[in-house]
């Protein structure tokens, strides 16, 4: 009696996990946190330090001092902005069946162009930062579009091409930024006030955090992403190309154009992230010595968010929370690298979620007849791209 009940439960949980990508993501993140907690215990520290840090970022409440610090909520949102945008970049390309590791490079191109415009453009209020952001997104679109063009026209693997473009972007950005008059080996002179995205209102309500006007563009981007993918003809064509290139071509969808367009739009999101970071979080141009890493984390963001608009926004907030919690963890004697470990584990778990599903399916059914049935559904699931 007990046993059959248990089996039934397992089965329902099993089918739930089989069908819902969102549930799988939640499970994967929970397992990531479980691993991290165990790891902290193994090295003999107190895992509550990690959770206290996370709580303070989410609510501003510090348990030890019993005080609210609203600034942390602002920092959390500010930190999540580029992660959400880079997640959208990765996700948009993934919808067309492309793997965009190049968000990092597109982001760097965005930073570079935004910095150039911030320094050289005439100081007109609003128009100054608006054009800087616009051209940052445009530059990202071109950088991504090049890869799309190479992929569509010459069948160059977008994985290798984007990795190459990342490093080209990094060093090119150094060459250009070092040429700006008054720049030394790590920074340019200060931006004029009209180029900055800072908003005194947002700073006031978050007690001086780095939250800035960029948030408007992030919200707009999430909406645009959702609209293009779900509601437009172009979005349909892009998704069709992602599901089956040959079938799409046969039904008259311009596959070459779709691939180029998707990489360009993906690049625009990442370029926008670069513009927002350079004008929102800094007051001067940076000569980049290494990657900021938002682009790479964006891969994890999109994977956890299942490439949907809302999912990506939520998982961007999750990863933004982790990285905002880093300094707080340090003060609680938790090595901040634990957050990178969680990121890496989550991506690996997502990679093997087909395996997870196999285990769940195996546990769920013992009767051979049912097994055969699910074997079939499993196969079709594997053949289809993982997003719904």
């Amino acid at each position: 009696m007990d046993k059959t009940k248990k089996l039934k439960q397992r089965k329902s949980l099993g089918t739930f996990l089989q069908e819902s990508d969102g549930a799988m993501s939640v499970l994967v993140v929970l397992i990531g946190f479980l691993f991290a907690t165990l790891l902290i215990l193994i090295i003999g520290r107190n895992p509550s330090g990690m959770y206290k840090a996370i709580l303070q970022v989410l609510t501003g409440y510090n348990v030890d001092r019993n005080r609210f610090y609203v600034r942390y909520i602002g920092e959390w949102l500010a930190q999540s902005m580029p992660l959400i945008l880079c997640g959208l970049s990765m996700g948009f390309a993934a919808r067309v069946g492309l793997f965009n590791i190049g968000a990092e490079g597109q982001y760097i191109v965005g930073i570079t162009v935004a910095q150039l415009i911030a320094i050289f453009f005439p100081q007109i209020p609003v128009a100054h930062w608006f054009f800087a952001i616009l051209f940052a997104a445009l530059a990202g679109a071109i950088w991504g579009g090049i890869v799309g063009w190479l992929k569509a026209k010459y069948e160059v693997s977008e994985v290798v091409a984007t990795i190459m473009m990342n490093y080209i972007a990094l060093y090119l950005s150094r060459i250009i930024t070092l040429r700006i008059p008054g720049a030394n080996t790590y920074r340019t002179p200060n931006f004029p006030q009209t180029a900055l995205l800072t908003s005194s209102f947002l700073q006031k309500i978050t007690n001086g955090s780095r939250l800035n006007l960029g948030i408007i563009f992030v919200v707009l981007s999430v909406l645009i992403y959702w609209f293009i993918i779900e509601k437009t003809r172009t979005g349909f064509e892009l998704r069709a190309t992602g599901f089956n290139k040959d079938a799409a071509r046969a039904s008259g969808i311009p596959v070459v154009k779709s691939i180029m367009l998707s990489m360009a739009i993906a690049g625009a999101f990442a370029g926008l992230a670069g513009g927002i970071v350079s004008l929102g979080a800094y007051k001067y141009g940076r000569v980049l010595a290494a990657n900021d890493g938002y682009g790479f984390t964006g891969i994890a963001v999109a994977l956890v968010g299942n490439n949907t608009a809302v999912g990506t926004a939520l998982s961007g907030l999750l990863f933004g929370m982790l990285s905002t919690a880093q300094p707080l963890m340090e003060s609680n004697r938790i090595p901040k690298e634990i957050t990178f470990i969680i990121q890496g584990l989550v991506v690996i778990f997502i990679a093997i979620r087909v395996g997870f599903r196999m285990v769940v399916a195996y546990l769920a059914k013992k009767a051979p007849l049912k097994q055969e049935k699910t074997l079939n559904t499993k196969k079709t699931q594997e053949e289809m791209p993982t997003h719904e």
């Binding site: 190459m164 690996i348 395996g355």
Partner: protein, 301 residues
Amino acid sequence: MNSLFGKIPTILMLVSPILITATGGMICEQSGVVNIALEGLMMFGAFATATAHYFLEANFGPASIWLSLLIGGLFGLTFSLIHAFASISLKADQTVSGTGINLLATGVTIFLAQVFFNQDRTKQFMLGMMPNKAGIYPTAFIALVILVLTWFLLYKLPFGLRLRACGENPHAAQSVGINVFRMRYIAVLASGFLAGLSGGCLVLTSNTQFSSTTVNGHGFIALAVVSFGRWKPLGIGGASLLFGTALAFSIIANDYTLLRKLPSEVFNIMPYAITLLALVLFSGKNYAPLSAGKPYEKGAS
């Protein structure tokens, strides 16, 4: 011209780790598994080697270098097991699982450094690897031996033919009794060991400690080498030499009046730009192993 000869040891020092990693990457892709985790695996190897050498140096003397390199290789091998398990046994997306390992590498290595040394890098070891009288590091010979051995293994022994068959047409390979899963496991683990070893070589020759910037894209250059070298040992040797030289010039260009005017970053860009260009020029003719990147499923055809 004479002074250029003087730079050969520097160039070889930079070429060796790239060549070792690229050889591993080539073995891996020839068996049909794409490995973009090379960068991360090099980080694991570099960290393990630097740590082991720091602790063993006092007791083992010069032997510590070789012991630490072995430990670095084994550390890389251990983490490549994740990639093998995910992409072969569980048929995961190879790019996703590779990206996961790359992300994990930054976290795990620095986390362990915090645990062992209470800082975000390993403590400095006293004495790295020593060059011979001509100024050439032993890593150059290690790299050469590995490349020649790999060529022999892949192109002169039945084992190599079987391994390559798994990358070209796994179903045909299976039909003549080759265990595709086992072959791919061997290839991925070999690439993990070589990437780890090469990370160790890198840290012992060009640095005195491991930090998050030690590997700094060498693994991705190795990935470019595999494509640019068209998945063949000779091509990979040549590509490594070319890219290593470009990297060396980003450091030594200051010694030449003619080159000093160029920003040194131009040389940093070269490996990546050349690879992109080559991929375009080679397009149409597919040099990559046919089934690289595709999971193998028994029975399905």
